[in-house]
Each structure stands twice: as C-alpha cells, then as structure tokens.
C-alpha cells in the first residue's frame, strides 16, 4: 500500500521533470533546472564523504573542475563524442579522488579539510598554468553534444541531464543502503570499531572518495556541455563552500536534502539579484527568527544571550538589505551568514528538521520491520571449528612501551581452544592494553602473538578481525547513528561477496546476500534479547543494552576467539544474570572467550583459567580458586603491608 503510493509519487515527479521544458518553453528556466540537476549529482557524491563518512571535503570544486576539463580537453583536442567524454570524465576524476584520499590514510577532521583545500587550490593553479592543455585563463568553448549524428538542442540536452540525474540517484541510493553504505557510515560512528569488525577504515575511505569523485566528474562534464564554456575561475574556493552549504542546509544523508540543497544554491544568487524580493524575504526571515527565539526564551530552552545572536543577525541582514543599492556584491557575505545560521541552528538540515518535526521514521526502522518479519533459518550463531584442547592463542614476551612507561612487560598468555580465559587485575594494570595488542590496534614493542598457528605480526586490525578475533570495548564503541540491526550488519560485512556492479544493478547475488544477512543479524539480536529494539538508533539504547549489542555485533564476525572487555560494567544484577547465560551459550558454540572483568563473581563462575596482571606484569595464573587464594593477587588488589 505504502509502496504503491511511493511508486506513484516517483512516477509523477519523473514525468514532471521530463515535461518541464515543454511546460515552460523558456530556455532560461530550462537552463536553471538543468544546473540544479547537475549540482545535485555533485551533492549526491559529496554527501557520501560529508554525510556518511563524516569527513569535510573542501576539494569538490576541484574535482568538479577536473570533470569539466577532462570533457573540455577531449573535445577540443580530439573531438571526442559524448559517450566517450562522460565515462572518461568519471574515470579521470575518480582517479584523482583516489589520490585525494591518500592522505586520508593518516589524517581526519581539520587536517583532512586542509588537505582537500590544498588539493582544490593546486587543481585551480594547474588548470590556470597548464595552458598547452587547458588554454589557461582563456577557457574552452564547446558546443552541445551530438548523439547518434544529431546535435542536441537545449531541451534535448536537458533530457540527457535528467536521465543522468536519475541514474546517479538510483546508483547512489542503492550503494548507500547496501553493505558499502553501512561501511561508510560505520567509519563515522567509530573508526576503531570499524577496523575491529573487519571493515578496513582506509580501504572504505578511499572507496568513498572514489565514488564521490566519480559523480563530481560526471557532473563536471555535464556542466561543461551545459554552459558551453569552461574557465578556471568557476572551480574556486567559494564554489566548494557553496557545495558544502548545500549539503548541510538540505540535510545530510538524504537524497531529498541534496536536491533541495542544489535548488537553494542555484536559486539564491538569482534571489539576491532581485533586490526587492530579497528585502521582503529578509524581513520575513527576521520576523520568523525573532518569534521563534521568543518562544524558545519563554520555554526556557535558550539563554537570552544565545537567543539574541540569531535575532540580531537576521535583523541586521534585513536592515542591510534596505541600505544597500545592490546585493550582488554582498553575495558571499550572505552565504557566509547563512552557513553560520545553518551550522548552529539547523544542524540536521531542512529535511532533518522536517523529519523531526513530523516525527517521520527513517528507512532504518522499516528495514528492521522487514527483517524481523522474515523467517529465521537455522542457528544465528555460527559454530567455531577446531578441536577443543589445543592452543588457540599464544602471546609470548609481549612488551608494550609508551615513552618510558611499560604498559605491558614481558607478558605471556596462552589460551586453550574452547575455554573461557579470565584476565583480571587492578585498574591500570594493562588489561585493555593487552586487548589492543591482540586486536592489532597497538603494535607491541617486542614479543609475538600467534593465533590458530599463524603469527599476527604485520597484520592490520581488520585482517586480524577477519581471521577470527572479535572484541567488545570497555567504553562502548557503537555506530551511534545507525540502528541496532545495522550495527550487527556491519559485523556481518565479511559475508558479502557482492561488488559495486552487483549492488548498483541489484543483481541476484546481492539480493540473496542482503536477505540472508538481514535474517542472521535479526537472529543475533534475538540471541542477546534485543530483537524488539532492532530499528532503534544505537545511541538511544540504554547503557546495558548497548553492551549487549556490542556482543551481538562481535558475534556477527563468526569469531573463533571473542574478547570481552568488562561486559558487566554498569549492568544491574538481573542484567548480569542474563549476560552469564549469554556467555555460557557462546562457549557452548565452541567460541573461545577472553574475559576482562571486575565483578569477581562473574569471573569465578565462568572462567576455566584466570591470569592476573599488575603494573604490566603477569603475577599469577591458574584455576579461579587458586588465583583467588594467591598472596600476590590479594596484595595487588588490597595493598600489602608496608615492608
């Protein structure tokens, strides 16, 4: 029922889009909508980087420019037809996207923003200076493309752009809702946890940048044909900021937001050209802001000072619009002010704001409904192979040094397959450091770790995770903005073999894998008792449930060895009982467990062997009862007599 409605709405929208040129007949408006569509393609791509992976890219105007110039140069030098220039623009720009992503291996946040800014600036300089290729500041003039021997006119080209927009929309939408999209989103939620779920942060960052750049390249080429003239100054810093503004104003992580954002940044300059119109709009805006600030003050939601800033700002803007003869010169200031406003008062963008106001459910929740409706098949928890009794994990002489501090000093730990191995010790004794060494987050200063007979040296966290070591974190590292179900599905990422083409075309392989993993993820949630909360965002779950969700996510990796870092911390007594049952069941499935815990009753009732760390050294090891009676252990926990 709901689906039918959506399909009808989509058909009507597409028909309207295609009939628009016929309806207006005005080439100016046709060109305007064409530009909006082209910008929307860039924004679909930019949203992957900004909205999903959470990185700030200031290089997208540069990428847009590379696309435009790839098309321009190919046409000017070789007279290439459109079915060569578009793919070439996508390929070349995607390659540049990969280069841009290289520094992303090491840096994030403001550093990455500066890197992308430098990249954009270099591109602009190169376009300007490499006159033998690009004609420099002169620019390149070209005509509309020819298709099947027929030179497209303005309307026909509009249709071509519309088709490209729809293709990009479907492509981006499918990619972002697949395991690839979940991987991108996981990077933003918690890079460390992504790596420990076998989703290589670096690999997927590069992937995100490449896809994003490819779309920018396509849009750039379309833009070149659309304007019929390209010059270096179009692809500058302001353009980049405009793209970012469009994304945050429209709303991150939605395609509607990108379309809306594109419309705004194309229409706004036109609005500023019409001074009379702008005066009306700015006065109305000031009134709205003043009223909403008043409401916020009355409800005690904002302090006077905080509420005054936007009010003063918008009144100043309105006043300014009456003072000035022309707004065109102040265009950038207006954009700047809008950016400030959006960043602080409209963080989820217009789409997010409307969604919140109307209390709409996102697709994550409906996905969860669908998954829970599917019939479970078999056991969600996989059985770990291998014969019990052998050594699964051997760590020898582990030394972990931070500056002068030895967090771990020559520690040996051997874990037998199929057992629960306790790791205890006072705070700061090196337990979590040990976890981090075992999962490859820290590279030990000395010593070797071998798992299932293979040495772990030189392996990355994600490789270690895929080889069968899963973990939870002492301070919960969930992907907060993703639903519980999606969190577990990130853990199941390894069970997808589909590539980009499978995802984009919804080939049978992807559809089958997607269905199977949804069912399994649901089964795992049921196993830890979170089935009812599958559609809830992870950050909204209560603390105890978050810990259980982490266990479900870790189990999704089909681990041989599961590291639990203080799973009972902050849990109530009944919750702990539940946890004990869960850990028992995990053991029954043949999964080996290393358990760090401060609740001694938990440790004593579950563990087969216990190792005790103190100041980075192993001071005791043995059966739980032996360890409990050990003098050194008692001294470490309670303090010894002064000697």
């Amino acid at each position: 029922m709901k689906n039918a409605k959506q399909i009808i709405a989509a058909v009507v929208a597409i028909a309207a889009l295609f009939l628009f040129p016929q309806a207006t007949g005005n080439p100016y408006y046709i060109h305007l909508v064409e530009t909006i569509m082209i910008y929307a393609i860039v924004l679909f791509g930019l949203d992957i980087v900004v909205g999903y992976t959470g990185q700030v890219s200031l290089g997208h105007a540069g990428l847009f420019g590379i696309g435009a110039y790839t098309a321009g140069v190919l046409i000017m030098k070789l007279g290439a037809p459109v079915y060569v220039t578009l793919p070439a623009a996508i390929a070349v720009t995607a390659a540049f996207g990969a280069i841009l992503a290289l520094p992303a291996l090491r840096v994030t946040g403001p550093y990455l923003a500066m890197v992308t800014l430098a990249f954009g600036t270099i591109i602009q300089i190169l376009i300007n200076e490499m006159t033998f290729l690009t004609e420099g500041p002169m620019g390149i003039t070209l005509t509309k493309p020819e298709l099947f021997g027929h030179l497209l006119d303005e309307t026909e080209y509009y249709w071509l752009v519309a088709v490209m927009l729809l293709l990009s929309l479907v492509f981006v939408h499918r990619v972002l809702r697949s395991h690839l999209g979940r991987a991108f989103e996981a990077l933003r939620g918690s890079p460390v946890a992504s790596d420990c779920m076998g989703v290589s942060v670096y690999q997927y960052k590069v992937y995100a940048f490449v896809i994003s750049a490819g779309l920018a390249g396509l849009a750039g080429a379309l833009y070149a044909y659309s304007e019929q003239y390209i010059s270096p100054n179009t692809y500058n810093f302001e353009q980049t900021v405009l793209f970012l503004l469009a994304i945050i104003m429209g709303g991150r992580k939605t395609r509607t937001g990108a379309l809306l954002g594109a419309t705004i940044i194309v229409m706004l300059p036109k609005l500023l050209d019409d001074l009379q119109m702008f005066r009306y709009v700015s006065v109305i805006l000031a009134i709205i802001v003043a009223v909403s600030a008043g409401v916020a003050l009355k409800r005690g939601k904002a302090t006077l000072q905080a509420a005054m800033i936007p009010v003063v700002g918008s009144i100043a803007l309105a006043g300014l619009s009456f003072k000035l003869e022309t707004m065109t010169d102040w265009r950038l200031s207006v954009f700047g002010l809008i950016t400030l406003f959006v960043v602080y008062y409209l963080q989820d963008g217009i789409v997010g704001f409307v969604r919140n106001a109307l209390n709409l459910r996102g697709h994550a929740a409906s996905d969860a409904d669908i998954a829970s409706a599917m019939t479970p098949t078999g056991d969600a928890l996989s059985r770990a192979g291998g014969d019990a009794g052998g050594n699964l994990l051997e760590a020898k002489g582990i030394l972990m040094q931070f500056g002068g501090l030895k967090a771990l000093n020559n520690v040996d730990i051997t874990v037998k397959r199929g057992t629960i191995h306790g790791l205890i010790g006072p705070n700061g004794s090196g337990k979590s450091t040990m976890m981090n060494v075992l999962t490859g987050i820290y590279v030990p200063t000395a010593g070797t770790v071998s798992f299932a007979g293979t040495a772990q040296a030189g392996r990355t966290s994600s490789e270690i995770a895929l080889s069968g070591i899963a973990r939870t974190f002492q301070n919960v590292q969930l992907f907060g903005e993703m639903s519980a179900l999606q969190n577990v599905m990130v853990g199941l990422h390894h069970s997808f073999k589909s590539n980009l083409a499978d995802v984009a075309l919804h080939l049978p392989r992807y559809l089958r894998e997607n269905r199977d993993t949804s069912v399994r993820a649901m089964g795992l949630l049921r196993f830890v008792g979170l089935a009812e909360l599958a559609g809830e965002e992870a950050r909204n779950l209560p603390y105890g449930k978050q810990r259980l969700l982490e266990i479900a996510r870790a189990l999704a990796l089909d681990p041989q060895l599961l590291l639990l870092d203080e799973p009972a911390a902050g849990l109530t007594a009944p919750d702990i009982k539940e946890l004990l049952a869960i850990i028992q069941k995990i053991r029954e499935h043949g999964v080996t467990v290393i358990l760090i815990e401060h609740h001694m009753d938990v440790v004593m009732s579950l563990c087969d062997t216990v190792s005790v760390l103190d100041f980075g050294q192993k001071i005791a090891e043995g059966l739980p009862a032996e360890v409990q009676a050990n003098e050194k252990v008692i001294e470490a926990y309670l303090g010894g007599q002064a000697s």
Binding site: P103, P110, T121, S333, T339, L340, V343, S432
Partner: protein, 291 residues
C-alpha cells in the same frame, strides 16, 4: 650565485611571515584543539586596516599597535561567534564551517570596502636595497625577519613567565583540570584567539609593503602557513621557524626558476606530502590513541 643568495634571503623573509601565521594556528590549537580557517583573512584585514590608517596620515610605527589591537578584537569576535558555540556542542564540523564562513564574510566585506584591486602599501623604510653578501636585500625584508621573531619571542615570554601565560599553558595541558582549578578556560580560549589573530594582523602589516595588498591576499597565505604549522608540528614550538624558511625559500626559487604561476605549488604539495607521511609534523610528537 648572487641571485640565489638574494632568493634565499627573500625566501627567509617570506618564511618568517609563514612562521608568524603558523604560530597563530599553534596558539589556538594549543588551548582548544581548534583552528581558525580564516587566519589568512585575519592577516588581510590587518594589512587593510593598516593601509587605511597610513592613508589617514598615521605614522607606520604608530599604526602597528593600533592594528594589533584591531587584530585582537577581530580574533575574539571569531572565537565568540564561530568557535565557542561549536566547542559547546562538541562539533568539529561546526567550527570548521563557521570559521570558513566568517573568513568568507571578512573577505567579502573587505572587497566591498576597499575594492577588488590590489593596492600598493607605502614602505616605511627606504626602498633602495642594501648590499649584503653580494646580494641585494631590501631593508623591509630585514624588518620582517626582526619583527616576526620579536613577536613570537614576546608571546613565548608571556606564556612562560607570567601567571596569565601559565593559565594558557595549563589549559593546553588539560582543559578540564584547568577549569576545575578555577581558570576561566573559556576566557583563555578567547584570549588565544585574540593573540592568534593579532599575530596574523601584525604579519599582515609586515608583509604588505613587500607584496600588494588586496582582499584575496590572505587565502593562499593562510593555507601555506598551515603547511608550515604542520611541518613544525601543531603542538611543538619553534619547528615552525625552520618550516617557514624551508617553504619560503622553496617558493622564491620555484617562482624564479620555473614560473611565478607555480610559486604556490611547492607549499601545497609539501602540505599534502607531510600530512600523508607524517601528520604529527617533522618536529611534533604523535599522540597515542586511547581506546
């Protein structure tokens, strides 16, 4: 050889300007882990205000302290409007975008107030070059070097020797602990922004007589100074002087031997390489990631 010495000398002067701007990045990064993406525009505003003051007949030397006060106010403004709300909601994206937005606004306002053309800033010192090691050196270049080093030393002295400076250092070491010790960390952060923009404005009036002054002069300077700040390490003190000199000389030589069009490229490429290879900087210490 003579030309090379000359290029090296102007490179050093240019490098010191980068070092001063980079120093500004370090100041705010130290107290609040944030940067002003509009640092280059702070420099431009300083130069523009200085130019107007000189145009009104104010003596160059008298103008400098006025510009410094202006720079400090401008920095405090950026912190209050752009950075403080973002720190409060712990949004990295927030302060990046808002300092960029403020930078754009400043640039646009400058374009409208002072026009879009580059202007000549009258030199306070004679423009006849001095002869030094067989090379021609402008007296202004010497002033730039002396002024830049003096500025950085003064701020360092302040941080190390006065009680207010200790508050800055304490905030840098542990913001929450400093707050619990009764330090108004918010004020310290505002103050660091004021100092940061003040050094940028000061750098602006130093460099202006050597180059042209215009609304767009800041953007690339700010970006390249970031490269210097990274090379020197965002948290380590004087590596930026060396970083500045490396970049300045690389640039003047590229400009001379290759093409002036490409003179910005080495700095930007250097930034990309350093961040891709050793993001903690050549002199910085990498922090340990806690999980």
């Amino acid at each position: 050889m003579q030309i090379l010495t000359q290029l090296v000398f102007s490179g050093i002067a240019l490098g010191m300007i980068y070092a001063v701007i980079a120093f500004g990045y370090q100041l705010t990064f130290a107290t609040s882990d944030t940067l002003n993406f509009g640092q280059g525009d702070a420099l431009m505003l300083g130069a523009m205000v200085g130019l107007s003051l000189v145009g009104l007949g104010v003596n160059y030397w008298l103008m400098i302290p006025i510009v410094c006060v202006f720079g400090a106010l401008q920095g405090a403004f950026v912190e209050r409007i752009g950075v403080r709300p973002a720190i409060k909601i712990k949004s990295e994206f927030g302060w990046i975008m808002s300092t960029i937005a403020l930078g754009i606004i400043f640039k646009n306002v400058a374009e409208n107030l002072w026009g879009r053309d580059d202007l000549k800033f009258p030199s306070p010192l004679p423009e006849a070059p001095l002869h030094f090691l067989g090379a021609n050196v402008l007296p202004m270049e010497i002033l730039v070097i002396v002024g830049a080093v003096g500025m950085m030393l003064a701020v360092e002295f302040f941080n190390r020797k006065t009680i207010y400076g200790k508050a800055v250092v304490a905030t840098f070491n542990d913001r929450d602990a400093a707050k619990l010790m009764g330090i108004n960390t918010g004020l310290v952060i505002t103050f660091s922004y004021a100092l940061s923009s003040m050094s940028a404005a000061f750098a602006g009036v130093l460099i202006a007589p050597l180059t042209l002054t215009g609304a767009t002069m800041g953007a690339v300077l700010g970006l390249k100074a970031f490269a210097v700040a990274i090379i020197g390490g965002l948290t380590s003190g004087m590596g930026i002087i060396l970083g500045g000199i490396i970049l300045g000389v690389a640039e003047t030589t590229t400009g001379f031997y290759l093409s002036t069009g490409y003179k910005d490229v080495p700095g930007l490429v250097l930034l990309l390489i350093v961040l891709a290879v050793k993001p903690a900087g050549l002199f910085g210490k990498s922090a340990i990631k806690k999980v």
